[in-house]
């Protein structure tokens, strides 16, 4: 409930931002989970990630549908949803935070800018503070965001059964790619 409140509070910053706020959105963001373990490499891709960024406040939010992660192996996708992330109980992962250096990003001047995001990441009903470094490229009025970071599965109370633990690494590499358009375009 506390996490949902934080997420909604940050979302409300976008509403209160007003007509001249520089809001950028995407509904087709991409997130990849990748793990490499002794027995297997596992990769899951999600192409329908929602994200919104307000460059007037730095407010930065993500909403990720867990059932939209696609695995090559159907059985692994089943286990991911039913046993690991329990997506029936926890259908979304969210990030609610800020781009701390938002003032340095000039959409009107094309180029690649460093992007430092901090905030609360919630997966499987567990919320953790995270800091992520990435980049935003300003190109033709759009913002193209990229980041790569690691997450420890156990930090989110995700338990991997003993019989498959050698198939799945304890640390998962997360890749994020967003092409964000100005809201209202």
């Amino acid at each position: 409930m506390k996490t949902r409140t934080t997420f909604l509070l940050l979302l409300s910053l976008f509403v209160a931002g007003g007509a001249f706020a520089q809001k950028f959105i995407t509904k087709t963001g991409y997130i990849r989970f990748y793990s490499e373990a002794p027995l297997e490499k596992i990769e899951a891709n999600n192409h329908v990630v929602n994200s919104a960024l307000d460059l007037s406040t730095g407010g930065f939010v993500f909403k990720v549908l867990m059932k939209s992660f696609e695995f090559q192996k159907a059985l692994m996708q089943e286990h991911f949803n039913e046993n690991y992330v329990e997506s029936d109980k926890f259908p979304n992962a969210t990030f609610a935070g800020t781009l701390t250096n938002f003032k340095e990003i000039n959409v009107g001047k094309e180029g690649v800018y460093e992007a430092n995001a901090e905030g609360k990441l919630t997966i499987h009903g567990v919320t953790r503070d995270i800091k992520v470094k990435g980049t935003f490229e300003a190109r033709q009025g759009k913002l193209i965001g990229k980041a790569k970071f690691n997450l420890t599965v156990a930090d989110f109370n995700i338990t991997i059964p003993g019989n498959v633990i050698n198939n799945i690494a304890k640390t998962v590499e997360v890749t994020v790619e967003l092409t964000m358009d100005k809201a209202g375009m």
């Binding site: 509904k27 329908v48 159907a74």
Partner: protein, 144 residues
């Protein structure tokens, strides 16, 4: 060959066959063919959207993870990378159009791109949840 050896070899062969079948059918299990699966629910896109807006948790319990058939007036189509997304638009939010978004299966991409806005359409897809839009994936076109 002694009888007990024949029994052991027979059991070993059965065990190997069972392991092979488990490997083939379980570990190599194919993803569902959402185009062929029957829809658990058939309703208008408006009804589906309103259900999630009114009560996200109740609608999620009912529709998320299910194959849904939706019909209604097409708002627009979008393309993201090589995926065509057909959108039923019901609300203008702070983040743009909101409604029901259907990501088409690749075999329906070209057909979906030819769909005209304001035309009656019917799609079937797998509901993955609600982000402010109801999201259906692996969508097929049933009626143009």
């Amino acid at each position: 060959m002694k009888t007990w050896m024949k029994i052991v070899l027979g059991l070993a062969a059965v065990g190997l066959l069972a392991a092979f079948l488990v490997y083939t059918f379980l570990f190599n299990k194919k993803h569902p063919d959402y185009e062929k699966l029957p829809a658990a629910y058939s309703l208008t896109a408006r009804e589906l959207y309103d259900a999630f807006v009114k009560s996200p948790e109740a609608a999620s319990s009912k529709y998320t993870g299910k194959v849904i058939e939706v019909r209604g007036i097409l708002g627009k189509t979008e393309t993201a990378d090589s995926t065509v997304i057909a959108v039923f638009v019901f609300h203008q939010g702070d983040f743009g159009d909101e409604g029901v978004r259907c990501s088409m299966l690749p075999k329906y991409s070209q057909e979906a791109q030819r769909l005209q806005p304001d035309g009656e359409v019917r799609f079937k897809g797998y509901c993955t949840g609600f982000t402010g839009d109801v999201v259906l994936e692996k969508c097929s076109i049933i009626l143009q």
